[in-house]
Symmetry: C2
Subunit: 472 residues, 2 copies
């Protein structure tokens, strides 16, 4: 196999998986099985690809998701390059950025591009397919993995396959890339042997660059400049905002694959799903003897073929068939499985009503750890704060609140104005209004503390940062 | 109207209204409309009855519910006598106790007995009915309010009415009291003009005593002794446990009404419901234009004729008809309306599995106020404690935990060993393991504090009470 650099596209989304998926915690970071995130499964699946060539993954994401991505890489024990798009310019620009960055970092290589939020039930077949596609990519083709359709879905684009590239390869010419069809057209496509387009592409970096320059010169020029002028900050590569924003907004499928002469497709059977909505979660999950895909504390009676997920509460269901019940502490969704797609519209209503449950989960992830609101009243709120070993919050102050900290696990180092103190489990400290303070975990186990904030204004924007390890 | 003493039977129950109804917070204390409890509505409905005769209500309940009852009386601005049954001996013994107590406190009077957990939509008609029943009671009858059936229900006992007692009264002879019938029998009963038995009785105390002595001498002897030897503790009257336990266990309907010659029935149309299950809640609730009875933060799409109740979370429902969705923070119930009765069986399973959600709500009511768990970890937990003005917790100590208290509203008086201190809003204090301590609210507004407990054992039974205002 030639040197293959895995590229993971992580743009967020996943509205139809609300309430588990939120703007600030989108689909790639959900865990379907309760064990690992979809993103992590993607990484694990791709690691052998990269390991064979001693390369490191490139992730394309944005500012809002950067610490989530970094944490997934850390947990997987991987180092990678995390490209941050300053604005959204669709997959054309994203893939151009990966191409441009890969060329500058690795020289010519094969890059294998994958969404971060898909399920693949047959990882060995996937590995084989990537190897076969990489071989064809070496020959100058841009190879799409073309998924053998299970049904005449109207949710995916389709690819019309042509003849084999050569006698020794299973890779076919890709004759046509078509948009999401209506039902009748989808049925015709299936009858005619079309394949689903799952957004997975393998190509040589030089090939991709050539095709981008030829077919989408404005994208390539803008994005190449944004990579050249990028600012590197640890693992983060911040693409130049002005240059990147100048790129046209067009998908890679439409901008390149529909135009190029080098399009190829490898038919694959990977037990693939884009996990688009709760019915897809049911499809890809292990199910119990009643056909229920459950997670968390769920008790059922006469309930079958349902998705039942409890995060905080005890979820009980009597006498239902084919339903979705998802509980996340701050929200509950109940719907028939047949209405799984309509969750999007519901969430759009919640957004329009500015309901906080549309945007964020109760647990807020931060580069130093996470916090979660536990109680709130008129002039106070209570949070549990968890700081990773070595984690350090910004040096900060508040104009409108004082804070009581009770350490309940681990050891805190607390700076208040000029004084630095160690606060142990079962000890507390007090931060007066206006005091410059900092919390850090100097220890080897996570630090947990209960923070009671008291004041007349308790929002997150009353944090005056004086200095921050994480460039915020 | 003669002197009428209202008697309220409050024995708990309401399993089918789980998860809002719990063993420690049963049906009478639920609020269907979010404004007042069913118990309070019962009190308000009966207040004119008692007020007319300048009497005070008698409530028959048990130890576990006594502070809930006392609080309802307090909130209604009423004084009453709260008889506490040491064990359950069915309505025969309960009504014997009320009769015996009323005679000793008020002398002969008319007593009007009502369950504490029923809905009556026509309070004026109810008042008229009680007046008419009381007039017949003066003549020596025991008058049941007989509800005109809406349907051939199998959930209630029935009463066969006879001729009028006399030409000027609408009260009829009650010819027969029958148990809950099967469907076919219920249909026949309705065709023959039977009435529902809603457990509401009006009779002179002397009449009741005579009939109890004649028909159930063992009950009357045991219960009269338990009243004679009762211990009074403020509003609470603790019936003597040994004497009371000697009473046979039989319902008033079966033990007296089926046997007595003085049984009468007044047909009434009161828009009555025993609010037995969630479908009855739907029936008695105000509904929106989609036919949904909602409470709390509920968002629906294409959802109709459902009971949708949110206590803590945002509850969202898409495309459902005739369903029950009830959320209480720690639990969620989802079921079709047609399975409303089956909630009982579900809760029995939860009880058998010793799930805490079967027994208690997150908010625990205490005579001094209430507390609620807000967070818990391996060696700590966080509670919000609310103390009423003038409320005072027991003088106590713990062997296995220390406590950090942060006052977030009001003012606390805190005793730690020999030291008494005032702790204001935004101040904190610390209770070391083993320290004898007490918390009280000396102020005029509720005291709220956040308690962080740290230790290796954090259960409620590690409270060593040295002294307590509430006789616990």
């Amino acid at each position: 196999m030639p040197q293959v650099v895995p590229v993971i596209l992580c743009g967020g989304a996943g509205t139809r998986l609300w309430p588990e998926s939120r703007d600030h915690f989108p689909k790639p970071f959900l865990s379907i099985d309760g064990k690992q995130s979809i993103f992590r499964a993607t990484l694990d699946r791709l690691t052998p690809v990269g390991a064979a060539a001693d390369s490191r993954p490139i992730v394309i994401t944005n500012e809002a998701l950067r610490f989530l991505v970094l944490e997934e890489l850390d947990r997987a024990g991987l180092e990678g390059d995390i490209l941050l798009e300053p604005v959204r310019r669709d997959t054309g620009a994203a893939i151009a950025a990966a191409t441009s960055f890969a060329l500058s970092r690795h020289g010519d290589c094969v890059i294998a591009l994958f969404p971060s939020d898909h399920h693949i039930g047959k990882p060995a077949a996937f590995m084989d397919a990537v190897g076969e596609a990489a071989a064809a990519a070496e020959q100058g083709y841009i190879v799409t993995l073309g998924i053998k359709p299970r049904e005449p879905s109207t949710a995916y684009g389709y690819i019309r396959p042509g003849p084999r590239l050569n006698q020794t390869s299973d890779v076919l010419r890709a004759e046509q890339f078509v948009e999401k069809p209506d039902r009748a057209t989808a049925e015709r496509y299936i009858a005619e042997g079309y394949l689903w387009n799952g957004g997975m592409f393998v190509g040589r970096a030089e090939t991709l660059k050539d095709e981008l320059q030829a077919r989408q010169p404005a994208i390539m020029a803008a994005v190449a400049a944004s990579v050249r002028d990028a600012k590197t900050d640890g693992a983060f590569v911040r693409l130049d905002p002005t240059a990147f924003a100048a790129s046209p907004q067009i998908s890679f499928d439409r901008g390149i694959m529909e135009a190029t002469e080098r399009a190829a497709v490898l038919p694959v059977d990977l037990d693939w799903s884009d996990i688009g909505a709760w019915d897809a979660v049911w499809n890809t999950s292990q199910r119990d003897q009643d056909g229920n895909a459950t997670r968390g504390r769920v008790v059922t009676a006469d309930t079958f073929n349902s998705v039942l997920r409890a995060e905080r509460a005890l979820v009980t269901v009597i006498g239902m068939d084919n339903v979705i019940v998802v509980e996340t502490g701050d929200a509950v969704l109940v719907a028939p499985m047949t209405r799984a797609q309509d969750v999007r519209e519901l969430v759009e209503r919640l957004r329009a009503d500015k309901r906080p449950e549309a945007a964020a989960l109760p647990r807020m992830l931060r580069p130093w750890g996470h916090y979660e609101g536990k109680d709130a009243g008129e002039r106070y709120q209570v949070k549990r704060i968890t700081v990773k070993p070595g984690g350090r919050l910004s040096l900060q102050k508040h104009y409108h609140r004082s804070e009581h900290w009770v350490v309940v696990r681990g050891t805190a180092q607390v700076t208040i104005n000029d004084k630095v103190q160690i606060v142990h489990e079962n000890q507390s400290t007090y931060i007066p209004i206006g005091a410059v303070h900092r919390l850090e975990n100097p220890g080897l186990i996570p630090l947990e503390l209960i923070e009671v904030q008291v004041g007349s204004y308790l929002e997150e924007d009353d944090i005056i940062r004086i200095s921050d390890d994480y460039g915020r």
